[in-house]
């Protein structure tokens, strides 16, 4: 069985950044396993611009952003296997994968970085009544078909869900000649970035119908129309508000789910709120030597933050190999750290915990709020002591937030055994 220092599962933005940073920090043999035919992940089909403003201070398309990392990975001589699907990761960090060339292969790693990304929530999860015809696509599938396969999915479309992919696809379909009748959103606010609403809907005159959902799909063979209805505050359709929109296509952009089949099989602690594993400030799961980063951990809006988070995971994995790989029991005992409590208004945080050791540096905490708040603050407490208070004009679940905890602040929390993040004094919408 071939041995690697690090095996990275997934060659998207997270996997690439993690592998690079691991190499920068002295990791020897690294293997990236990617199931698609090329690395770059979902960025390959995101041909719109707006990537890399933070990382490269320029506006790149998805493939361009990915390519910067792909080139560096190549230069660094990191081994990459495409068309390779990992079917199992063992607690002993044995990784089993299949591909055409090698068949079924097992390799052993000193550290494994999980970077499998996320997938789209399907129609079934929404239980939309009606027929089950052709012409219903998740937005990402349509994006792949249009951008990578060069085909059109339909002539007239309705989009359910105003997540970023839905918004981007409203513009993309319009540019390809598909008439987009409306984007319906069941919540009173969009799940996407403000800039995408402006650039993808407003600029093209596509209506965003908040508090609306699809209550029936018509058409036995191919979609012939959808019935929209307004919903009340409990997200139940309001009788009498139904209206039929004739269309041949329904796109669903109704949420992304971290893809953690392998992680669950490993028996890692999972966070119900994120759908990903729980990690400490080193992006390390509770299983020694298993790290996670990117959308497998929690769904990001901006790839720049994926790259940052993944770089941290790569660096920590490299350090872990040097310092601790022989001492598994110590790592296993890391449970003695403290949990970051998601207080009022906070849906989740990543990392979920701070381990007892700390590494003397800053920790970036990323999180999402649970509703729209205006003129409010984000605050961090340990017992009665307020460590951070940050004013925010608008907070929305569609935009990931982050704040930084210094080493001193972390130490205080560790001493007091508590840390809590919450939203304060805002008008709730």
């Amino acid at each position: 069985m071939k041995e690697y220092e690090i095996v990275v599962i997934g060659g998207g933005p997270a996997g690439l950044a993690a592998a690079l940073e691991a190499r920068e920090n002295g990791a020897g043999e690294i293997l990236i396993l990617e199931r698609d035919v090329r690395t770059g992940g979902i960025l390959n089909q995101c041909i719109h611009n707006g990537f890399g403003l933070h990382t490269f201070q320029e506006e790149l398309t998805g493939p361009e952003y990915a390519d910067r990392f792909v080139q560096q990975v190549r230069k660094a001589g990191i081994e990459t296997r495409c068309g390779s699907m990992v079917i199992r990761v063992g607690r002993d960090r044995t990784v089993t994968y299949v591909n055409r060339e090698e068949g079924l292969t097992q390799v052993r790693a000193k550290a494994v970085i999980l970077a499998m990304g996320c997938r789209e929530r399907p129609r079934g999860a929404l239980n939309i009544p009606g027929y089950r015809p052709a012409g219903i696509y998740s937005a990402g599938t349509a994006q792949r078909l249009v951008n990578l396969e060069g085909v059109c999915v339909g002539k007239k479309a309705v989009i359910l869900g105003s997540g970023d992919i839905g918004l981007i696809m409203a513009r993309r379909l319009t540019l390809e000649g598909t008439k987009v009748l409306a984007v319906a959103e069941v919540m009173p606010y969009s799940g996407g970035l403000k800039r995408n609403i402006v650039q993808c809907l407003d600029d093209f005159g596509i209506p965003l119908l908040l508090n609306h959902t699809v209550v029936e799909i018509l058409g036995k063979k191919r979609v012939e129309g959808v019935v929209l209805a307004r919903v009340d505050e409990n997200r139940k359709p309001v009788p009498g508000t139904q209206r039929l929109l004739e269309c041949d296509t329904l796109l669903l952009s109704v949420g992304l789910l971290p893809e953690n089949e392998l992680t669950r099989e490993l028996g890692a602690d999972m966070d119900r709120a994120t759908g990903g594993p729980c990690v400490n400030q080193r992006m390390e799961t509770r299983i020694p030597g298993i790290f996670a980063c990117g959308n497998v951990l929690h769904v990001h809006d901006l790839v720049d933050y994926v790259s940052q988070e993944a770089a941290l995971a790569g660096k920590e994995a490299a350090l872990w190999i040097r310092e601790e790989s022989g001492r598994e029991t110590k790592a296993d005992c890391r449970g003695e750290g403290i949990f970051l409590q998601a207080g009022r208004g906070i849906r989740y945080t990543v990392p979920q915990r701070l381990d007892s050791a700390g590494n003397g540096g800053n920790v970036t905490v990323r999180f999402r709020v649970d509703g729209v708040y205006q003129d409010s603050s984000i605050a961090v407490y340990s017992k009665d002591c307020c460590l951070v208070r940050k004013k925010k004009r608008v907070l929305s679940p569609g935009e990931m937030e982050q704040l930084v905890l210094t080493a001193q602040q972390q130490d205080l929390c560790r001493r007091q055994g508590e840390i809590r993040i919450c939203v304060e004094t805002g008008r709730e919408q």
Binding site: L104, R119, Y137
Partner: protein, 497 residues
Amino acid sequence: MGGKYDVVIIGGGVTGAAIARELSRYDLKTCLLEREEDVCSGTSKANSAIVHAGYDAKPGTNKARMNVEGNRMMEELSRELDFEFQRNGSLVVCFGPEELPALERLLEQGKQNGVEGLSIISGEEARKMEPNLREEVYAALHAPSGGIVCPFGLTIALAENACDNGVEFRFNTEVTEVKRLEDKETEDKETADKGAGTAGGGYRIRTLRGDLETRFVVNAAGLYADVFHNMVSSKPISISPRRGSYWLLDKESAPCVNHTVFQVPGRFGKGVLVTPTVHGNLLLGPTAVDIDDKEDTRTTAGELEDIRKKASRSVRDIPFSRVITSFAGLRAREEGDDFVLGKAPGAPGFFDAAGIDSPGLTAAPAIGRFLAGQIARAAGAKEKADFNPYRKGIVKAAALPLQDRAKLIQKDPAYGTIVCRCEQISEGEIRDAVTRTLGAKSMDGIKRRVRAGMGRCQAGFCTPGVMEILARKLGLPPEEICKNGDGSRLLEGGMGQ
């Protein structure tokens, strides 16, 4: 098109396929006509996927007899034809002492029908077998012979085996008329002679793709069996659709229940079942709504909500957040509430397999054997020496031991490229589904044969890959790939630049 046959079977559902397979044992020229592009496209594709024990039907009915016999045949059949079947046992639960007599009636009925191993157990005993049963469960009828099957797997296996043994399958061939021929009307002397005394002059079957002549007709037309029956028989029947909706939940490491859990009809109405599927998913349903339209397979918000409420009555902790799809199917209910089997009155040579609602899936193999026997006798047919009862299914690479999987990929690298990640289906398996006997022609055909697109992402990930393989293997441009037959193209609006 056209042609002359000994037997024409109308309908390629599980019943038609089972009859075809049993008829293929004999030296008969048989043709099966199916309206859709594939077998298993109507009632057979959307049902509870249950192999019933046989305590539900009234003693002495066709349903009772065929159910128990079909149940007994299933094990050996699954070995011969390589489809998924499990005898997981079933429980019919009741919620109070006042419902106990209903359970006892089922027990008695089951015994009379010849069901083995039935017993009534207490709520505690039932919860020992199924810890997720609710505290409110008072008692249960335990039927160890109850089972679960893959309805696609069963139907497709029967059809493929029939085809391999010489039965001709014609798809996209809707029958519009069945007409009995007078002796002089038949153009073929030989047919007329052979048919003498049994089928008279035989039948002319008019389809949208031309006419056929045949000595015998098998009417396995599901919801439309009354239409064809009434074209020739002196005693009309009437079949009406009863819609049943279902929820399908994601696979989990520890399934919510292992047995099929029914509810005894009682103060809450008929109740719904909670069952694992042979693939490890959880299935809830069905509702029972009598409708008029024989094509109306819509799910409705009300029915879906009804399933949630009723399923929760018998089983706790159902992970409703893990629903991956909901669907509805129609049951072909005959007025007399029994299977209509055998010679149609006033129509010699015309055999019915009509009114096949529950337990039709279970009963299909028995119905096939029964009707094939009747027809073979009437036709004076002999068993073929070269009938091959065996059929090998498509290899399931992900289910193989690692070493075998490695060898398989070494031999054929296409099994090493995973196209459907949820169910881990490889390119090789999808290719096999297209190229083998009665191969898939559409996305749904692939889904029913190898489960690509059947998993938790519901084809979000594998759609482009499956489309590409279908297009390549069928020699079609991608825009002509359909979900399930004409009118269901996946791509509309032409190609991009």
